[in-house]
């Protein structure tokens, strides 16, 4: 059971690292960005590429992969996403989904379709109450928590962060102050992409790297964003861990039901927010 709980935390941590970018993109730009999954997948493959080509260790290869992907993330925002500001939601879905499909096919051409396993960089177990738990998984959770705390400080204390928080609440209000929000959206987009790549690379040793890995997590991340509240920084954090834990617990007793439990929760939250909550407020 202890392992199941830790697994839940690990899934939650990876979901958080992936979802935060998705949530911020939707909250600030009102764009549903399917291409987020492409950046996540490409990040993992570039990690493998740098690690093998330069014979690097896990952390240096990860840092180089993140830095290498920043121009790609910036280019997606600058040349695709920015053109979709203020457009209908379905345009953004079609454009970013097309980008995801094209990118996934390119990955298949370059790296092949076979899953690639990545060795866990730390093989140490920590003994807690007689149960050996993987230190690597604990580190993944700690990285997510530290990033959450760091982001919270960033959004509270820095001008860039405060502008993003303000834009989440009142996009037009920020523009009417004379602030060009697209510059700040680019920063947010790149930060979100970098965090997704970190999440992907940290998760890859536990799972495998394969061309569709981004698509698999994308649907779960949409559930996180909806349950946590679109654009909610804290909500995304708690929803990630709650749904990660739900997946782990349901998966322990019924492996096939883990994803279904997440989507069912999302459906219940939508029903509550749009049907039950307004009725309760009217009373």
């Amino acid at each position: 059971m202890f392992e199941t709980i830790l697994y839940g935390f690990t899934i939650g941590a990876v979901l958080y690292l992936f979802s935060i970018g998705l949530s911020l993109t939707f909250g600030t730009m009102h764009i549903i960005n399917f291409a987020h999954a492409l950046v996540y997948t490409l990040g993992v493959y570039s990690f493998i590429g740098f690690r093998d080509a330069l014979s690097l260790g896990f952390v240096p290869a990860m840092l180089i992969a993140v830095v290498a992907m920043v121009p790609l993330a910036w280019a997606i925002e600058r040349f695709v996403i920015r053109r979709l500001y203020g457009e209908r939601l379905d345009y953004a879905i079609i454009a970013t989904y097309a980008l995801l499909l094209i990118g996934t096919d390119l990955i298949k051409v370059v790296f092949g379709t076979l899953p690639q396993s990545i060795n866990v960089p730390i093989h140490v177990s920590v003994n807690v109450a007689g149960v050996g738990i993987s230190l690597y998984r604990i580190i993944i959770v700690l990285v997510a928590v530290l990033i959450f705390l760091g982001l919270r400080q960033f959004f509270r204390k820095t001008v860039v962060g405060q502008i993003v928080v303000a834009a989440l609440e009142d996009n037009e209000g920020v523009r009417c102050l004379g602030i060009n929000i697209s510059t700040y959206f680019s920063i947010v987009f790149v930060i979100g992409s970098a965090l997704a790549i970190i999440g992907g690379i940290l998760y890859a040793p536990i799972s495998t790297a394969e061309p569709y890995m981004g698509m698999h997590i994308l649907l779960l991340a949409f559930s996180v964003v909806i349950v946590g509240g679109m654009g909610s920084l804290t909500g995304t954090f708690y929803a990630s861990f709650a749904l990660g834990m739900l997946m782990a617990l349901v998966g322990r007793f019924w492996a096939g039901g883990a994803n279904a439990a997440v989507f069912l929760t999302m459906a219940l939250v939508i029903i509550y927010r749009h049907t039950i909550k307004p009725r309760l407020h009217r009373r």
């Binding site: 920020v174 009417c176 004379g178």
Partner: protein, 238 residues
């Protein structure tokens, strides 16, 4: 034919039409606001008053016509550029940046206008001294009236050449309306303003000129320099 009389215009709107997709909501709007003038727009709901202010502020793009502000053509210019030129807009919904403190709400305006935070705060407090008490409070905890005052104070940072305010007294208690009335009185003559307002006693007391809008058009203009217009005269248009 654009009206508004002679004198140096801060803003001149000529034949502006604007719509959402195919449906036009503004038809050939012409208006002019002179230096230091306080101009009010009245009209029924759906007359196009908010759409007009949003078009002038750069939040909506006109289909045709021109907007000349401070001698420059700003037609279709994005809101952030319009604001940096000195045309500030206070929206109707009283939405402040609720998770930021009052101080940080003002600080963002100071950052945008490239002025230091302390002088921005002094400016906001000068407009409404009570604001100092709320400085460290989350703006989300303010009442509707306090939010409106914060929004006006925030918009005054950087000394705008023209201030657009949409329904400043809407839904507010009489006491707060008095506060807003005092603020509008204090900026009258120094900052040019266009105010959309339904409270006719406020309109007739403060307006230099009044435009009446109906179905996306300006149908009437009143000169009120000597406060000679009675609320009853305007009531028929609401």
């Amino acid at each position: 034919m654009c009206t508004g009389g002679g004198g140096l215009a801060v803003i001149e709107v000529r034949d502006v039409s604007m719509g959402y997709n195919q449906a036009l909501v503004l038809h050939d709007i012409c208006l002019k606001v002179k230096q230091g003038e306080q101009v009010f727009i009245v009209g029924r709901n759906g007359a196009g008053k908010t759409s007009l202010l949003k078009t002038l502020a750069g939040l909506l793009k006109p289909h045709s016509g021109t907007v000349t502000f401070d001698g420059h053509d700003i037609t279709g210019m994005p809101a952030e550029k319009v604001a940096r030129r000195g045309l500030h807009f206070v929206a109707q919904d009283k939405v402040v940046f609720s998770s930021l403190s009052v101080r940080n709400n003002i600080a963002l305006a100071a950052h945008a206008m490239k002025i230091d935070i302390d002088s921005a705060i002094r400016k906001a407090v000068e407009i409404y001294p009570k604001l100092e008490e709320f400085m460290e409070l989350n703006a989300g905890n303010l009442s509707g009236g306090q939010r409106e005052i914060l929004l006006i104070g925030r918009a005054m940072i950087g000394d705008p050449k023209l201030l657009l305010i949409d329904e400043p007294t809407e839904g507010l208690a009489a006491k707060v309306i008095d506060d807003i009335f005092r603020i509008l009185t204090s900026i009258k003559g120094t900052t040019s303003t266009i105010i959309v307002e339904q409270n006719l006693s406020v309109v007739t007391s403060l307006a230099d000129r009044i435009y009446v809008m109906k179905e996306g058009k300006i149908i009437k203009e009143f000169d009120n320099k000597h406060a000679c217009i009675e609320a009853a005269e305007l009531e028929v248009y609401l």
